[in-house]
Protein backbone atom coordinates (compact mmCIF):
# COMPACT_ATOMS: atom_id res chain seq x y z
CA UNK A 1 0.00 0.00 0.00
CA UNK A 2 1.56 3.29 -1.06
CA UNK A 3 1.12 6.49 0.85
CA UNK A 4 -1.65 7.91 -1.34
CA UNK A 5 -3.77 4.76 -1.02
CA UNK A 6 -3.15 4.75 2.68
CA UNK A 7 -4.22 8.38 3.02
CA UNK A 8 -7.32 7.84 0.94
CA UNK A 9 -8.30 4.89 3.08
CA UNK A 10 -7.73 6.87 6.25
CA UNK A 11 -9.98 9.62 4.89
CA UNK A 12 -12.60 7.06 3.91
CA UNK A 13 -12.46 5.45 7.32
CA UNK A 14 -12.76 8.78 9.10
CA UNK A 15 -15.65 9.84 6.89
CA UNK A 16 -17.45 6.55 7.54
CA UNK A 17 -16.71 7.01 11.23
CA UNK A 18 -18.31 10.47 11.20
CA UNK A 19 -21.45 9.14 9.53
CA UNK A 20 -21.65 6.38 12.10
CA UNK A 21 -21.16 8.89 14.86
CA UNK A 22 -24.20 10.89 13.80
CA UNK A 23 -26.38 7.80 13.99
CA UNK A 24 -24.75 6.30 17.07
CA UNK A 25 -24.78 9.55 19.04
CA UNK A 26 -28.57 9.71 18.92
CA UNK A 27 -28.80 6.07 19.91
CA UNK A 28 -26.45 6.47 22.84
CA UNK A 29 -28.02 9.75 24.02
CA UNK A 30 -31.50 8.27 23.96
CA UNK A 31 -30.28 5.33 25.95
CA UNK A 32 -28.11 7.29 28.35
CA UNK A 33 -30.78 9.80 29.12
CA UNK A 34 -34.07 8.02 28.69
CA UNK A 35 -33.01 4.44 29.33
CA UNK A 36 -34.55 3.46 26.01
CA UNK A 37 -33.06 1.00 23.59
CA UNK A 38 -34.42 2.10 20.26
CA UNK A 39 -34.05 -0.40 17.44
CA UNK A 40 -35.98 1.87 15.09
CA UNK A 41 -33.08 4.30 15.09
CA UNK A 42 -31.62 2.69 11.98
CA UNK A 43 -34.96 3.11 10.27
CA UNK A 44 -34.66 6.87 10.87
CA UNK A 45 -31.42 6.81 8.90
CA UNK A 46 -33.15 4.93 6.10
CA UNK A 47 -36.08 7.36 6.10
CA UNK A 48 -33.63 10.25 5.88
CA UNK A 49 -31.99 8.69 2.84
CA UNK A 50 -35.36 8.10 1.15
CA UNK A 51 -36.49 11.62 2.00
CA UNK A 52 -33.42 13.06 0.34
CA UNK A 53 -34.06 10.90 -2.73
CA UNK A 54 -37.74 11.85 -2.85
CA UNK A 55 -37.28 15.56 -2.13
CA UNK A 56 -34.36 15.70 -4.54
CA UNK A 57 -36.70 14.40 -7.21
CA UNK A 58 -39.06 17.30 -6.49
CA UNK A 59 -36.65 20.16 -5.83
CA UNK A 60 -33.68 19.01 -7.94
CA UNK A 61 -31.37 20.16 -5.18
CA UNK A 62 -29.80 18.19 -2.36
CA UNK A 63 -29.62 21.31 -0.22
CA UNK A 64 -33.34 21.95 -0.56
CA UNK A 65 -34.01 18.29 0.12
CA UNK A 66 -32.04 18.44 3.36
CA UNK A 67 -33.62 21.74 4.34
CA UNK A 68 -37.12 20.33 3.83
CA UNK A 69 -36.26 16.87 5.13
CA UNK A 70 -34.92 17.95 8.52
CA UNK A 71 -38.18 19.42 9.86
CA UNK A 72 -40.00 16.33 8.57
CA UNK A 73 -37.59 14.13 10.53
CA UNK A 74 -38.02 16.21 13.70
CA UNK A 75 -41.80 16.03 13.51
CA UNK A 76 -41.62 12.35 12.66
CA UNK A 77 -39.37 11.66 15.65
CA UNK A 78 -41.69 13.62 17.90
CA UNK A 79 -44.75 11.69 16.75
CA UNK A 80 -43.01 8.34 17.23
CA UNK A 81 -41.91 9.38 20.70
CA UNK A 82 -45.43 10.42 21.73
CA UNK A 83 -47.23 7.49 20.12
CA UNK A 84 -44.93 4.65 21.02
CA UNK A 85 -41.72 5.35 22.92
CA UNK A 86 -43.35 7.32 25.74
CA UNK A 87 -45.14 4.15 26.86
CA UNK A 88 -41.82 2.41 27.37
CA UNK A 89 -39.98 4.53 29.91
CA UNK A 90 -40.84 2.32 32.83
CA UNK A 91 -40.84 -0.98 30.96
CA UNK A 92 -38.18 -3.63 30.82
CA UNK A 93 -35.57 -3.52 28.02
CA UNK A 94 -37.11 -6.64 26.60
CA UNK A 95 -40.36 -4.84 25.81
CA UNK A 96 -38.48 -1.84 24.44
CA UNK A 97 -36.66 -4.15 22.07
CA UNK A 98 -39.88 -5.78 20.95
CA UNK A 99 -41.91 -2.63 20.50
CA UNK A 100 -39.22 -0.87 18.55
CA UNK A 101 -38.74 -4.06 16.55
CA UNK A 102 -42.43 -3.86 15.68
CA UNK A 103 -41.81 -0.25 14.62
CA UNK A 104 -39.06 -1.39 12.27
CA UNK A 105 -41.39 -3.88 10.62
CA UNK A 106 -43.93 -1.13 10.08
CA UNK A 107 -41.44 1.48 8.87
CA UNK A 108 -39.65 -0.93 6.53
CA UNK A 109 -42.96 -1.99 5.06
CA UNK A 110 -44.15 1.60 4.69
CA UNK A 111 -40.92 2.34 2.83
CA UNK A 112 -41.65 -0.54 0.44
CA UNK A 113 -45.21 0.65 -0.09
CA UNK A 114 -44.14 4.25 -0.72
CA UNK A 115 -40.94 3.74 -2.70
CA UNK A 116 -40.82 0.09 -3.70
CA UNK A 117 -37.88 -2.30 -3.51
CA UNK A 118 -35.63 -0.71 -6.14
CA UNK A 119 -32.21 0.75 -5.49
CA UNK A 120 -32.01 4.48 -6.04
CA UNK A 121 -29.18 6.96 -6.20
CA UNK A 122 -28.92 10.64 -5.44
CA UNK A 123 -26.35 12.62 -7.44
CA UNK A 124 -23.57 14.54 -5.74
CA UNK A 125 -24.24 18.31 -5.93
CA UNK A 126 -22.36 19.88 -8.80
CA UNK A 127 -20.21 22.29 -6.76
CA UNK A 128 -18.84 19.37 -4.80
CA UNK A 129 -18.53 16.86 -7.62
CA UNK A 130 -14.82 17.49 -8.20
CA UNK A 131 -12.03 15.23 -7.07
CA UNK A 132 -8.72 16.05 -5.51
CA UNK A 133 -5.76 14.27 -7.10
CA UNK A 134 -3.72 12.25 -4.62
CA UNK A 135 -0.67 10.52 -6.02
CA UNK A 136 -2.02 8.63 -9.00
CA UNK A 137 -5.52 8.46 -7.50
CA UNK A 138 -8.30 10.87 -6.75
CA UNK A 139 -10.38 11.67 -3.72
CA UNK A 140 -13.91 13.02 -4.13
CA UNK A 141 -14.53 16.43 -2.61
CA UNK A 142 -18.00 15.41 -1.48
CA UNK A 143 -16.55 12.91 0.98
CA UNK A 144 -14.39 15.61 2.51
CA UNK A 145 -17.44 17.81 2.68
CA UNK A 146 -19.42 15.12 4.53
CA UNK A 147 -16.62 14.70 7.06
CA UNK A 148 -16.50 18.44 7.53
CA UNK A 149 -20.26 18.81 8.02
CA UNK A 150 -20.31 15.94 10.50
CA UNK A 151 -17.46 17.56 12.39
CA UNK A 152 -19.43 20.80 12.60
CA UNK A 153 -22.54 18.94 13.77
CA UNK A 154 -20.54 17.04 16.37
CA UNK A 155 -19.03 20.28 17.64
CA UNK A 156 -22.46 21.85 17.72
CA UNK A 157 -23.78 18.94 19.69
CA UNK A 158 -20.95 19.29 22.18
CA UNK A 159 -21.71 22.99 22.61
CA UNK A 160 -25.45 22.39 23.03
CA UNK A 161 -24.96 19.68 25.61
CA UNK A 162 -22.21 21.29 27.65
CA UNK A 163 -23.01 25.00 27.35
CA UNK A 164 -26.73 25.61 26.88
CA UNK A 165 -29.69 25.42 29.21
CA UNK A 166 -31.24 22.61 27.22
CA UNK A 167 -27.96 20.73 27.53
CA UNK A 168 -28.01 21.28 31.27
CA UNK A 169 -31.51 19.85 31.45
CA UNK A 170 -30.46 16.89 29.34
CA UNK A 171 -27.46 16.14 31.54
CA UNK A 172 -29.44 16.63 34.71
CA UNK A 173 -32.28 14.45 33.45
CA UNK A 174 -29.86 11.69 32.55
CA UNK A 175 -28.29 11.44 35.97
CA UNK A 176 -31.01 12.63 38.36
CA UNK A 177 -34.37 12.26 36.75
CA UNK A 178 -36.54 12.74 39.85
CA UNK A 179 -34.57 15.65 41.20
CA UNK A 180 -34.73 17.42 37.86
CA UNK A 181 -38.47 16.95 37.80
CA UNK A 182 -38.76 18.23 41.34
CA UNK A 183 -36.97 21.39 40.24
CA UNK A 184 -39.86 22.09 37.92
CA UNK A 185 -38.45 20.88 34.64
CA UNK A 186 -40.86 19.06 32.41
CA UNK A 187 -38.72 16.01 31.87
CA UNK A 188 -41.06 14.31 29.45
CA UNK A 189 -40.85 17.37 27.21
CA UNK A 190 -37.05 17.23 27.36
CA UNK A 191 -37.22 13.53 26.48
CA UNK A 192 -39.42 14.27 23.49
CA UNK A 193 -36.98 16.95 22.32
CA UNK A 194 -33.97 14.67 22.69
CA UNK A 195 -35.72 11.88 20.86
CA UNK A 196 -36.77 14.15 17.98
CA UNK A 197 -33.26 15.56 17.70
CA UNK A 198 -31.80 12.06 17.75
CA UNK A 199 -34.16 11.04 14.97
CA UNK A 200 -33.22 14.15 13.02
CA UNK A 201 -29.50 13.41 13.44
CA UNK A 202 -29.96 9.88 12.13
CA UNK A 203 -32.12 11.18 9.31
CA UNK A 204 -29.59 13.89 8.47
CA UNK A 205 -26.87 11.29 8.35
CA UNK A 206 -28.97 9.28 5.90
CA UNK A 207 -29.57 12.38 3.77
CA UNK A 208 -25.96 13.44 3.30
CA UNK A 209 -24.92 9.81 2.95
CA UNK A 210 -27.40 9.18 0.13
CA UNK A 211 -25.10 10.45 -2.67
CA UNK A 212 -22.29 8.19 -1.40
CA UNK A 213 -24.19 4.95 -1.04
CA UNK A 214 -27.28 3.92 -2.89
CA UNK A 215 -30.70 4.24 -1.29
CA UNK A 216 -32.15 0.78 -0.75
CA UNK A 217 -34.55 -1.18 1.45
CA UNK A 218 -33.02 -2.49 4.65
CA UNK A 219 -30.19 0.06 4.67
CA UNK A 220 -31.34 1.08 8.13
CA UNK A 221 -30.93 -2.41 9.53
CA UNK A 222 -27.29 -2.50 8.55
CA UNK A 223 -26.42 0.89 10.02
CA UNK A 224 -28.33 0.06 13.21
CA UNK A 225 -26.29 -3.04 13.94
CA UNK A 226 -23.02 -1.25 13.21
CA UNK A 227 -24.14 1.58 15.49
CA UNK A 228 -24.74 -0.95 18.23
CA UNK A 229 -21.20 -2.19 17.82
CA UNK A 230 -20.01 1.41 17.97
CA UNK A 231 -21.76 2.24 21.22
CA UNK A 232 -20.93 -1.08 22.83
CA UNK A 233 -17.26 -0.38 22.09
CA UNK A 234 -17.51 3.22 23.27
CA UNK A 235 -19.63 2.55 26.32
CA UNK A 236 -23.39 2.92 26.18
CA UNK A 237 -24.60 6.38 27.11
CA UNK A 238 -21.25 8.08 26.52
CA UNK A 239 -21.06 10.62 23.71
CA UNK A 240 -17.28 10.63 23.83
CA UNK A 241 -17.37 6.84 23.64
CA UNK A 242 -19.67 6.96 20.63
CA UNK A 243 -17.17 9.23 18.88
CA UNK A 244 -14.12 7.09 19.61
CA UNK A 245 -16.08 3.93 18.85
CA UNK A 246 -17.32 5.33 15.54
CA UNK A 247 -13.80 6.27 14.46
CA UNK A 248 -12.40 2.88 15.47
CA UNK A 249 -15.16 1.02 13.66
CA UNK A 250 -14.94 3.29 10.60
CA UNK A 251 -11.20 2.76 10.26
CA UNK A 252 -11.29 -0.94 11.16
CA UNK A 253 -14.01 -1.60 8.61
CA UNK A 254 -12.23 0.34 5.85
CA UNK A 255 -8.85 -1.24 6.43
CA UNK A 256 -10.39 -4.66 7.06
CA UNK A 257 -11.79 -4.60 3.54
CA UNK A 258 -8.30 -4.12 2.12
CA UNK A 259 -6.15 -6.17 4.42
CA UNK A 260 -8.53 -9.07 5.19
CA UNK A 261 -11.00 -9.04 2.30
CA UNK A 262 -12.38 -12.48 3.08
CA UNK A 263 -13.24 -11.64 6.65
CA UNK A 264 -13.95 -7.95 6.14
CA UNK A 265 -17.46 -8.08 7.54
CA UNK A 266 -16.23 -9.81 10.69
CA UNK A 267 -13.40 -7.44 11.55
CA UNK A 268 -15.50 -4.96 13.50
CA UNK A 269 -17.12 -7.73 15.55
CA UNK A 270 -13.70 -9.09 16.40
CA UNK A 271 -12.73 -5.57 17.43
CA UNK A 272 -15.80 -5.41 19.65
CA UNK A 273 -14.95 -8.76 21.24
CA UNK A 274 -11.40 -7.58 21.96
CA UNK A 275 -12.62 -4.39 23.60
CA UNK A 276 -15.09 -6.37 25.69
CA UNK A 277 -12.43 -8.73 27.00
CA UNK A 278 -10.48 -5.74 28.13
CA UNK A 279 -13.35 -3.56 29.31
CA UNK A 280 -16.80 -5.21 29.49
CA UNK A 281 -18.44 -1.82 30.01
CA UNK A 282 -16.90 -0.33 26.86
CA UNK A 283 -14.09 2.21 26.59
CA UNK A 284 -15.91 5.09 28.27
CA UNK A 285 -18.79 3.23 29.90
CA UNK A 286 -19.69 3.88 33.50
CA UNK A 287 -20.54 0.37 34.53
CA UNK A 288 -21.59 -2.89 32.95
Amino acid sequence: MDLATFLIQVLNGVQYGFTLFLVASGLTLIFGMMGIINLAHGAFYMIGAYLSFWLFGITESLWMAILLGLPIMIVFGYVIERLAISFLYKRDHLYQVLLTYGLILILNEMQKILWGSDFYSVPVPEILSASIPMGNQEYPVYRLFVSFVCMVVAAGMYVVISKTKLGMMIRAGATHREMTQALGINISRVFAIVFSLGAALAGFSGMIDAPLSSVYPGMGDYILIISFVVIVIGGIGSLKGAFVGAMLVGLADTFGKILLPEFSSMVIYALMALVLIWRPQGLFGRQA
Binding site: F31, I37, A84, F87, R91, H93, L94, Y95, V97, L98, L99, Y101, G102, L103, I104, L105, I106, N108, E109, M110, K112, I113, D221, I225, F228, V229, I231, V232, I236, S265, M266, Y269, M272, A273, L276, I277, P280, Q281, G282, A288
Partner: protein, 321 residues
Protein backbone atom coordinates in the same frame (compact mmCIF):
# COMPACT_ATOMS: atom_id res chain seq x y z
CA UNK B 1 -43.98 -26.07 37.84
CA UNK B 2 -47.43 -26.99 38.95
CA UNK B 3 -50.02 -26.23 36.34
CA UNK B 4 -53.61 -25.39 37.10
CA UNK B 5 -56.14 -28.05 36.13
CA UNK B 6 -57.70 -26.24 33.15
CA UNK B 7 -54.25 -25.53 31.79
CA UNK B 8 -53.22 -29.15 32.15
CA UNK B 9 -56.36 -30.16 30.30
CA UNK B 10 -55.54 -27.70 27.55
CA UNK B 11 -52.01 -29.02 27.19
CA UNK B 12 -53.19 -32.63 27.07
CA UNK B 13 -55.76 -31.66 24.47
CA UNK B 14 -53.06 -29.93 22.42
CA UNK B 15 -50.84 -32.99 22.65
CA UNK B 16 -53.68 -35.29 21.64
CA UNK B 17 -54.54 -33.01 18.76
CA UNK B 18 -50.93 -32.95 17.56
CA UNK B 19 -50.69 -36.74 17.82
CA UNK B 20 -53.85 -37.34 15.84
CA UNK B 21 -53.31 -34.55 13.32
CA UNK B 22 -51.50 -36.43 10.51
CA UNK B 23 -54.34 -38.97 10.40
CA UNK B 24 -56.77 -36.45 8.94
CA UNK B 25 -54.94 -33.16 8.36
CA UNK B 26 -54.03 -32.32 4.78
CA UNK B 27 -50.46 -32.24 3.59
CA UNK B 28 -49.98 -28.48 3.43
CA UNK B 29 -51.07 -28.01 7.00
CA UNK B 30 -49.03 -30.98 8.11
CA UNK B 31 -45.89 -29.22 6.94
CA UNK B 32 -47.01 -26.02 8.64
CA UNK B 33 -47.61 -27.86 11.91
CA UNK B 34 -44.16 -29.47 11.69
CA UNK B 35 -42.66 -26.03 11.23
CA UNK B 36 -44.59 -24.70 14.22
CA UNK B 37 -43.48 -27.56 16.44
CA UNK B 38 -39.89 -26.79 15.46
CA UNK B 39 -40.53 -23.14 16.24
CA UNK B 40 -41.91 -24.30 19.60
CA UNK B 41 -38.64 -26.06 20.45
CA UNK B 42 -36.69 -23.01 19.33
CA UNK B 43 -38.91 -20.71 21.44
CA UNK B 44 -38.62 -22.93 24.53
CA UNK B 45 -34.85 -22.78 24.27
CA UNK B 46 -35.00 -18.99 24.24
CA UNK B 47 -37.45 -19.03 27.13
CA UNK B 48 -34.80 -20.77 29.22
CA UNK B 49 -32.69 -17.63 28.75
CA UNK B 50 -35.26 -14.83 28.73
CA UNK B 51 -37.91 -16.22 31.02
CA UNK B 52 -35.90 -18.26 33.49
CA UNK B 53 -32.34 -16.95 33.57
CA UNK B 54 -33.23 -13.35 32.81
CA UNK B 55 -30.81 -13.10 29.89
CA UNK B 56 -32.42 -11.23 27.00
CA UNK B 57 -30.60 -12.74 24.06
CA UNK B 58 -31.22 -11.00 20.78
CA UNK B 59 -29.02 -13.30 18.76
CA UNK B 60 -30.57 -16.65 19.39
CA UNK B 61 -31.13 -17.37 15.71
CA UNK B 62 -27.35 -17.66 15.29
CA UNK B 63 -27.44 -21.12 16.87
CA UNK B 64 -30.55 -22.14 14.98
CA UNK B 65 -29.00 -21.27 11.64
CA UNK B 66 -25.48 -22.41 12.44
CA UNK B 67 -26.69 -25.91 13.20
CA UNK B 68 -28.65 -26.01 9.95
CA UNK B 69 -25.54 -25.00 8.02
CA UNK B 70 -23.58 -27.70 9.80
CA UNK B 71 -26.05 -30.29 8.54
CA UNK B 72 -25.59 -28.91 5.03
CA UNK B 73 -21.82 -29.14 5.39
CA UNK B 74 -21.74 -32.68 6.75
CA UNK B 75 -24.27 -34.09 4.27
CA UNK B 76 -22.25 -35.40 1.31
CA UNK B 77 -23.35 -34.52 -2.20
CA UNK B 78 -23.90 -38.13 -3.18
CA UNK B 79 -26.20 -39.35 -0.46
CA UNK B 80 -27.49 -39.16 3.08
CA UNK B 81 -25.43 -39.12 6.24
CA UNK B 82 -26.20 -41.14 9.34
CA UNK B 83 -28.02 -39.21 12.01
CA UNK B 84 -25.63 -40.65 14.58
CA UNK B 85 -22.90 -38.62 12.93
CA UNK B 86 -24.88 -35.59 11.75
CA UNK B 87 -26.81 -34.75 14.91
CA UNK B 88 -23.88 -34.89 17.37
CA UNK B 89 -21.77 -32.91 14.91
CA UNK B 90 -24.39 -30.17 14.56
CA UNK B 91 -25.03 -29.99 18.28
CA UNK B 92 -21.36 -29.99 19.25
CA UNK B 93 -20.50 -27.17 16.86
CA UNK B 94 -23.49 -25.17 18.07
CA UNK B 95 -22.63 -25.80 21.71
CA UNK B 96 -19.06 -24.70 21.01
CA UNK B 97 -20.27 -21.51 19.38
CA UNK B 98 -22.63 -20.88 22.30
CA UNK B 99 -19.76 -21.41 24.71
CA UNK B 100 -17.59 -18.81 22.98
CA UNK B 101 -20.35 -16.24 22.43
CA UNK B 102 -21.69 -16.90 25.91
CA UNK B 103 -18.27 -16.46 27.49
CA UNK B 104 -18.11 -12.93 26.13
CA UNK B 105 -21.75 -12.10 26.64
CA UNK B 106 -22.45 -13.20 30.22
CA UNK B 107 -19.72 -10.88 31.43
CA UNK B 108 -22.15 -8.11 30.62
CA UNK B 109 -25.77 -7.56 31.52
CA UNK B 110 -28.84 -5.58 30.61
CA UNK B 111 -28.67 -3.62 27.42
CA UNK B 112 -25.06 -4.63 26.75
CA UNK B 113 -26.08 -8.25 26.73
CA UNK B 114 -28.87 -7.55 24.23
CA UNK B 115 -26.56 -5.69 21.88
CA UNK B 116 -23.63 -8.06 22.14
CA UNK B 117 -25.67 -11.16 21.42
CA UNK B 118 -27.18 -9.32 18.47
CA UNK B 119 -23.79 -8.25 17.18
CA UNK B 120 -22.33 -11.75 17.42
CA UNK B 121 -25.33 -13.21 15.62
CA UNK B 122 -24.86 -10.66 12.84
CA UNK B 123 -21.23 -11.68 12.59
CA UNK B 124 -22.36 -15.22 11.79
CA UNK B 125 -24.96 -13.84 9.45
CA UNK B 126 -22.40 -11.90 7.41
CA UNK B 127 -20.01 -14.82 7.43
CA UNK B 128 -22.55 -17.13 5.79
CA UNK B 129 -23.95 -14.35 3.64
CA UNK B 130 -20.58 -13.71 2.06
CA UNK B 131 -19.23 -17.24 1.94
CA UNK B 132 -19.78 -18.23 -1.70
CA UNK B 133 -18.74 -21.84 -1.02
CA UNK B 134 -21.84 -22.12 1.16
CA UNK B 135 -24.15 -20.51 -1.37
CA UNK B 136 -23.76 -16.92 -0.21
CA UNK B 137 -27.00 -15.07 0.26
CA UNK B 138 -28.96 -17.71 -1.69
CA UNK B 139 -28.25 -20.37 0.87
CA UNK B 140 -27.32 -23.99 0.49
CA UNK B 141 -29.42 -27.04 -0.29
CA UNK B 142 -29.58 -30.16 1.82
CA UNK B 143 -30.61 -32.83 -0.64
CA UNK B 144 -30.79 -35.78 1.70
CA UNK B 145 -32.29 -36.14 5.12
CA UNK B 146 -30.11 -38.16 7.51
CA UNK B 147 -30.79 -41.87 7.90
CA UNK B 148 -31.64 -43.44 11.23
CA UNK B 149 -30.28 -46.99 11.32
CA UNK B 150 -29.50 -49.23 14.24
CA UNK B 151 -27.17 -51.82 12.76
CA UNK B 152 -28.95 -52.81 9.58
CA UNK B 153 -32.37 -51.99 10.92
CA UNK B 154 -33.96 -48.76 9.75
CA UNK B 155 -35.56 -47.23 12.81
CA UNK B 156 -37.31 -44.39 11.01
CA UNK B 157 -37.39 -43.06 7.47
CA UNK B 158 -37.41 -39.27 7.72
CA UNK B 159 -38.34 -38.99 4.04
CA UNK B 160 -41.76 -40.33 4.90
CA UNK B 161 -43.81 -37.24 5.88
CA UNK B 162 -45.65 -39.10 8.64
CA UNK B 163 -42.48 -40.47 10.16
CA UNK B 164 -40.88 -37.04 10.03
CA UNK B 165 -43.94 -35.50 11.65
CA UNK B 166 -43.78 -37.89 14.58
CA UNK B 167 -40.03 -37.52 14.81
CA UNK B 168 -40.50 -33.76 15.32
CA UNK B 169 -43.43 -34.26 17.72
CA UNK B 170 -41.37 -36.62 19.87
CA UNK B 171 -38.49 -34.13 19.72
CA UNK B 172 -40.84 -31.43 20.99
CA UNK B 173 -42.05 -33.59 23.86
CA UNK B 174 -38.55 -34.68 24.81
CA UNK B 175 -37.28 -31.09 24.68
CA UNK B 176 -40.11 -30.02 26.96
CA UNK B 177 -39.45 -32.82 29.43
CA UNK B 178 -35.69 -32.28 29.47
CA UNK B 179 -36.14 -28.56 30.11
CA UNK B 180 -38.70 -29.27 32.84
CA UNK B 181 -36.26 -31.61 34.55
CA UNK B 182 -33.42 -29.10 34.24
CA UNK B 183 -35.63 -26.40 35.73
CA UNK B 184 -36.73 -28.60 38.64
CA UNK B 185 -33.17 -29.64 39.38
CA UNK B 186 -30.98 -27.54 41.70
CA UNK B 187 -29.48 -25.96 38.58
CA UNK B 188 -32.89 -24.64 37.63
CA UNK B 189 -33.41 -23.20 41.08
CA UNK B 190 -30.11 -21.37 40.85
CA UNK B 191 -30.80 -19.79 37.47
CA UNK B 192 -34.22 -18.67 38.68
CA UNK B 193 -32.48 -17.20 41.68
CA UNK B 194 -30.20 -15.32 39.29
CA UNK B 195 -33.24 -14.02 37.43
CA UNK B 196 -34.88 -12.87 40.66
CA UNK B 197 -31.79 -11.36 42.27
CA UNK B 198 -28.35 -12.03 40.94
CA UNK B 199 -26.48 -10.26 43.73
CA UNK B 200 -28.16 -12.36 46.40
CA UNK B 201 -27.61 -15.57 44.49
CA UNK B 202 -23.94 -14.67 44.24
CA UNK B 203 -23.89 -13.85 47.95
CA UNK B 204 -25.20 -17.36 48.61
CA UNK B 205 -21.96 -18.63 47.13
CA UNK B 206 -23.00 -19.51 43.61
CA UNK B 207 -20.74 -18.64 40.73
CA UNK B 208 -23.52 -16.90 38.84
CA UNK B 209 -21.39 -16.25 35.74
CA UNK B 210 -20.82 -19.96 35.31
CA UNK B 211 -24.51 -20.77 35.78
CA UNK B 212 -25.47 -18.15 33.23
CA UNK B 213 -22.93 -19.51 30.80
CA UNK B 214 -24.19 -23.08 31.22
CA UNK B 215 -27.74 -21.90 30.72
CA UNK B 216 -26.62 -20.05 27.58
CA UNK B 217 -24.93 -23.17 26.20
CA UNK B 218 -27.95 -25.40 26.93
CA UNK B 219 -30.28 -22.91 25.27
CA UNK B 220 -27.95 -22.49 22.29
CA UNK B 221 -27.63 -26.24 21.82
CA UNK B 222 -31.37 -26.76 21.96
CA UNK B 223 -31.84 -23.95 19.45
CA UNK B 224 -29.30 -25.84 17.36
CA UNK B 225 -31.44 -28.94 17.61
CA UNK B 226 -34.42 -26.95 16.35
CA UNK B 227 -32.24 -25.64 13.51
CA UNK B 228 -31.22 -29.20 12.66
CA UNK B 229 -34.89 -30.16 12.35
CA UNK B 230 -35.66 -27.04 10.31
CA UNK B 231 -32.83 -27.81 7.89
CA UNK B 232 -34.28 -31.28 7.49
CA UNK B 233 -37.74 -29.94 6.86
CA UNK B 234 -36.87 -27.12 4.50
CA UNK B 235 -34.03 -28.83 2.66
CA UNK B 236 -32.30 -25.45 2.42
CA UNK B 237 -30.44 -23.18 4.80
CA UNK B 238 -29.98 -19.51 4.02
CA UNK B 239 -28.37 -16.66 5.96
CA UNK B 240 -31.85 -15.32 6.74
CA UNK B 241 -32.20 -18.20 9.20
CA UNK B 242 -29.62 -16.59 11.45
CA UNK B 243 -30.43 -12.98 10.76
CA UNK B 244 -31.77 -10.66 13.37
CA UNK B 245 -35.31 -10.76 12.02
CA UNK B 246 -35.36 -14.42 12.94
CA UNK B 247 -34.05 -13.57 16.43
CA UNK B 248 -36.69 -10.87 16.75
CA UNK B 249 -39.46 -13.18 15.61
CA UNK B 250 -38.56 -15.91 18.05
CA UNK B 251 -38.31 -13.39 20.87
CA UNK B 252 -41.77 -12.22 19.89
CA UNK B 253 -43.01 -15.82 20.00
CA UNK B 254 -41.71 -16.19 23.55
CA UNK B 255 -43.41 -13.01 24.72
CA UNK B 256 -46.62 -13.75 22.86
CA UNK B 257 -46.78 -17.18 24.48
CA UNK B 258 -45.76 -15.96 27.89
CA UNK B 259 -42.17 -16.07 29.08
CA UNK B 260 -41.03 -18.13 32.00
CA UNK B 261 -43.65 -20.82 31.46
CA UNK B 262 -42.06 -23.21 28.95
CA UNK B 263 -45.45 -24.30 27.55
CA UNK B 264 -46.29 -20.67 26.76
CA UNK B 265 -43.68 -20.32 24.00
CA UNK B 266 -45.03 -23.48 22.37
CA UNK B 267 -48.51 -21.97 22.37
CA UNK B 268 -46.92 -18.74 21.15
CA UNK B 269 -45.29 -20.58 18.24
CA UNK B 270 -48.65 -21.91 17.13
CA UNK B 271 -50.41 -18.58 17.55
CA UNK B 272 -47.65 -16.70 15.73
CA UNK B 273 -47.34 -19.32 13.01
CA UNK B 274 -51.01 -19.37 12.15
CA UNK B 275 -51.14 -15.59 12.30
CA UNK B 276 -48.19 -15.31 9.91
CA UNK B 277 -49.79 -17.79 7.58
CA UNK B 278 -53.06 -15.89 7.70
CA UNK B 279 -51.51 -12.45 7.20
CA UNK B 280 -49.42 -13.69 4.30
CA UNK B 281 -52.58 -14.93 2.70
CA UNK B 282 -54.55 -11.69 2.97
CA UNK B 283 -51.84 -9.06 2.78
CA UNK B 284 -49.41 -11.00 0.61
CA UNK B 285 -46.41 -8.75 -0.03
CA UNK B 286 -46.99 -6.31 2.80
CA UNK B 287 -47.92 -8.72 5.58
CA UNK B 288 -45.11 -7.41 7.80
CA UNK B 289 -47.04 -4.18 8.25
CA UNK B 290 -49.96 -5.70 10.18
CA UNK B 291 -47.43 -7.98 11.89
CA UNK B 292 -45.58 -4.94 13.20
CA UNK B 293 -48.81 -3.48 14.51
CA UNK B 294 -49.60 -6.79 16.15
CA UNK B 295 -46.18 -6.91 17.82
CA UNK B 296 -46.68 -3.42 19.25
CA UNK B 297 -50.19 -4.30 20.41
CA UNK B 298 -48.95 -7.37 22.27
CA UNK B 299 -46.22 -5.37 24.01
CA UNK B 300 -48.69 -2.69 25.07
CA UNK B 301 -51.73 -4.76 25.95
CA UNK B 302 -50.65 -8.35 26.55
CA UNK B 303 -47.20 -8.28 28.17
CA UNK B 304 -47.89 -11.56 30.01
CA UNK B 305 -48.69 -13.29 26.75
CA UNK B 306 -51.14 -16.11 26.18
CA UNK B 307 -49.97 -17.94 29.31
CA UNK B 308 -50.67 -14.82 31.36
CA UNK B 309 -54.10 -14.60 29.79
CA UNK B 310 -54.87 -18.23 30.58
CA UNK B 311 -53.69 -17.76 34.14
CA UNK B 312 -55.93 -14.72 34.50
CA UNK B 313 -58.94 -16.55 33.07
CA UNK B 314 -58.52 -19.74 35.07
CA UNK B 315 -57.17 -18.32 38.31
CA UNK B 316 -60.43 -16.74 39.39
CA UNK B 317 -59.61 -17.14 43.04
CA UNK B 318 -56.36 -15.35 42.53
CA UNK B 319 -54.25 -18.34 43.49
CA UNK B 320 -50.55 -17.88 43.34
CA UNK B 321 -48.97 -20.08 40.71
Amino acid sequence: MTHSRPLLALLILLLAGLTAFPLFGDEFYQELVIRLMIMGIFAMSLDLLIGFTGLVSFGHAAFFGLSGYMLAIITPEAGPVSIWIALPFCLLVTAGAALVIGWFSVRTSGIYFIMITLAFAQMFYYYFNENQDLGGSDGIFIFYKPTIFIGDFQLLDLNNPHSFYYFVLISLIISYLVLSIILKAPFGQVIRGIHANEARTRALGFNTQRYKLISFVIAGTLAGFAGFLEANLAGIMSPAHLGWHESGTIMMVVILGGMGTLYGPVLGAFAMGFLQDYLQEIWSAHWLLPMGIFVIAVVLFLPGGIAGLIAKLTDKKGDVK
